[in-house]
């Protein structure tokens, strides 16, 4: 389906690279839950935000973050763009792609391609090596992470209001 004022959810990451795959896993889990006015894209890179938006009013990006003192593995942050852009550095959004999510969003904004509402969900992982699966803290958090994104999107669809 095309955007047409709904929501676009993009899972960012690489399969088979440990917690770097969590954005894809979360997006795929959301796909059957969010039908109708929501389009879900997995396997995207940060660049997907540049070209995938087709008139949606809400863009949701899901990506892995590098864990640290402020964000232990298995915890997540929900950020708004551009309001929370400075916090991206603090959350150490991890990307191995050609344009990091924050760079891709900045380019998209410069081109006037971003919807009014952009949310970035960053779940902290702890291993990103090839041929590894999701870590235990991420696996344990994933279900609740997905449920929260689903609830936020449903809430937005119902009220068309920005998240608090």
């Amino acid at each position: 389906m095309n955007g047409g004022g709904g929501a676009l959810v993009i899972g960012v990451g690489r399969p088979g690279f440990g917690d770097d795959a969590l954005g894809l896993t979360a997006a795929r889990a959301l796909e059957p839950r969010l039908t109708g006015a929501v389009r879900v894209v997995a396997d995207g890179t940060g660049l997907a935000a540049l070209s995938a938006v087709e008139g949606e009013e809400l863009l949701v990006l899901i990506d892995a973050a590098e864990s640290g003192a402020g964000l232990p593995a298995g915890q997540w942050r929900r950020l708004r763009y551009p309001q929370d852009a400075p916090a991206f550095a603090d959350s150490h959004l991890r990307t191995t792609h050609t344009l990091a999510v924050d760079s891709a969003l900045a380019v998209a904004a410069a081109l006037g391609r971003l919807p009014d509402e952009v949310w970035v969900y960053a779940l902290a992982g702890e291993r990103f090596a090839p041929e590894t699966s999701l870590s235990a803290p991420v696996s344990a958090a994933l279900c609740r992470f997905v449920e929260e994104i689903e609830a936020d999107v449903r809430n937005w669809l119902a009220r068309r209001l920005p998240i608090a």
């Binding site: 690489r14 399969p15 088979g16 690279f17 997995a42 396997d43 995207g44 890179t45 660049l47 540049l50 070209s51 191995t96 792609h97 050609t98 344009l99 760079s103 900045a106 380019v107 410069a110 081109l111 006037g112 090839p130 041929e131």
Partner: protein, 450 residues
């Protein structure tokens, strides 16, 4: 310059990550007496263990596993592994022409998306004097929007044939799990026709408006060189200085060497030295095989950049890449309009013990895979030579050659100049490594008589 103890002064400057390069690595430059005394492209990610963990896998798993080596050139790894394993299984000559055509179309999709991304978002900021695509996009929004539309088309071609844009899953040893219908491909035609015209226009724009730094290097260009088509999937491997070998014999001509400063292997022509692979090499060795739409632009582009082919300046990789994007778009149209579904999407294969090696042309150059299998079709040995690792020694040689032109620049401008040169090679360092840091060390000349 001397310090208080009369020791030669050494200044080290740690510059931020080099952006706009896929992967992670580092460049260490040592400047002494106005000369570059050391240029080392370092790679500090541990070696990729694909070659090790492929051992023991069923041969049918290999294309989907190797596709995950890189998010930018998964098709290249899939195609090289498919061809090598088809050779090992003895079915190379059973692959139908229409399957070969679909493989070329899939590869065109990857070239289109990768080249458009690199030209317009990663490399163009260097030529226009911007720090990044972010600042450039604000001033050149229309150009970036046109480029993104072309890139998106490349993604769409890949997802139409291979199931998804990143880490495609439909290609297999023997062909495809499912061949597309003519209708599915014909649906792409209007957008390809539009983007072809756009790319022709943008190619002339890039040639005419950008200023290309001067560099004259005596490269040994190496590329696939089939007799009857521009190189993508097939053909022997040829060099501008004389060697021509079958794909499985590549190691008769080149060798890999361990270097202390990098976990990626350096590649050399045996008995000679570094070599250059990628769009510039392909174009210089195969310009007469370009699709007519691209060939029609060569004279105008050559006039605009001030050099006829062969181009011996790696900064001219950008117009080479643009011409190849035109070629890939025009070839895509041709393939789709002539497409007839294959009688069988994939050749049935009975596992056997065997050895196979094959190369295909990734967007950034020759991507060579070699496998050995046992009688059950399990992988017993795997070897992968990625394009960026092969270009690594040539990048260092280019930096030494460029150095006299840039050595008087301050560190910030010097760093930008080095980054610009490195990006000529569109390095996909995650195939062999991750991000790049630039480290400049300046050693002042000793005082006379010291």
């Amino acid at each position: 310059m001397r310090n208080a103890t009369n020791e030669p002064e050494t200044r080290s400057i740690q510059v931020d990550y080099l952006a706009r390069v896929e992967g992670e690595g580092a460049l260490h430059l040592t400047l002494q007496d106005g000369r570059v005394t050391d240029a080392r492209l370092r790679i500090f990610e541990p070696p990729r263990f694909y070659e090790a963990f492929l051992r023991g896998r069923d041969f049918r798993e290999v294309p989907d596993i190797t596709a995950r080596i890189c998010g930018i050139c998964p098709v290249a790894h899939q195609m090289s592994s498919c061809h090598a394993l088809e050779q090992a299984m003895g079915v190379t000559h059973q692959i139908e022409p229409s399957v070969r055509a679909l493989r070329n179309l899939l590869y065109c999709g990857e070239w289109i998306e990768s080249h458009a991304l690199h030209i317009f978002l990663l490399h163009l900021p260097d030529f226009l004097g911007y720090e990044s695509a972010i600042t450039m996009a604000a001033d050149h929004a229309e150009t970036v929007k046109r480029a993104l539309r072309i890139k998106k088309l490349g993604n769409t071609i890949v997802s139409t044939l291979a199931g998804r844009e990143v880490h495609p899953i439909n290609a297999c040893v023997g062909g495809f799990y499912r061949a597309p219908t003519p209708q599915e491909l014909m649906a792409l035609v209007p957008e390809i026709e539009f983007c072809l015209e756009e790319m022709c226009d943008l190619t002339l724009f890039l040639a005419a408006t950008l200023e290309y730094p001067k560099l004259d290097q005596d490269y040994e260009f190496v590329a696939l060189s089939p007799d009857d088509e521009y190189p993508i999937n097939l053909g022997p491997i040829a060099s501008s200085k004389g060697f021509r070998v079958q794909q499985q014999d590549y190691l008769n001509a080149v060798e890999e060497q361990h270097v202390p400063h990098s976990t990626a292997l350096h590649s050399m022509i045996k008995g000679r030295g570094p070599y250059h692979i990628g769009p510039l090499a392909r174009l210089n060795l195969n310009a007469d095989k370009l699709h007519q739409r691209a060939a029609d632009l060569v004279a105008s582009v050559s006039d605009a950049v001030g050099h006829g082919l062969p181009w011996r300046n790696s900064f001219l990789s950008l117009p080479a890449r643009a011409l190849e994007t035109v070629h890939a778009l025009a070839l895509s149209l041709e393939i789709i309009k002539a497409y007839r579904p294959p009688a069988r999407a994939a050749v049935p294969i009975r596992p056997r013990a065997g050895v196979g090696a094959a190369a295909t042309e990734a967007p950034r150059g020759i991507n060579w895979h070699r496998y050995e299998t046992d009688s059950r079709g399990l992988i017993t040995a795997a070897r992968i030579m990625s394009p960026t690792a092969q270009n690594q020694a040539q990048i260092e040689a280019d930096l030494r050659k460029l150095a006299p032109q840039i050595v008087s620049l301050d560190d910030e401008k010097l760093t930008l100049a080095c980054e610009h040169l490195i990006r000529n090679y569109d390095p996909c360092i995650s195939c062999s490594t991750h991000f790049l840091r630039v480290h400049i060390e300046r050693i002042a000349a000793p005082l006379d008589g010291a």
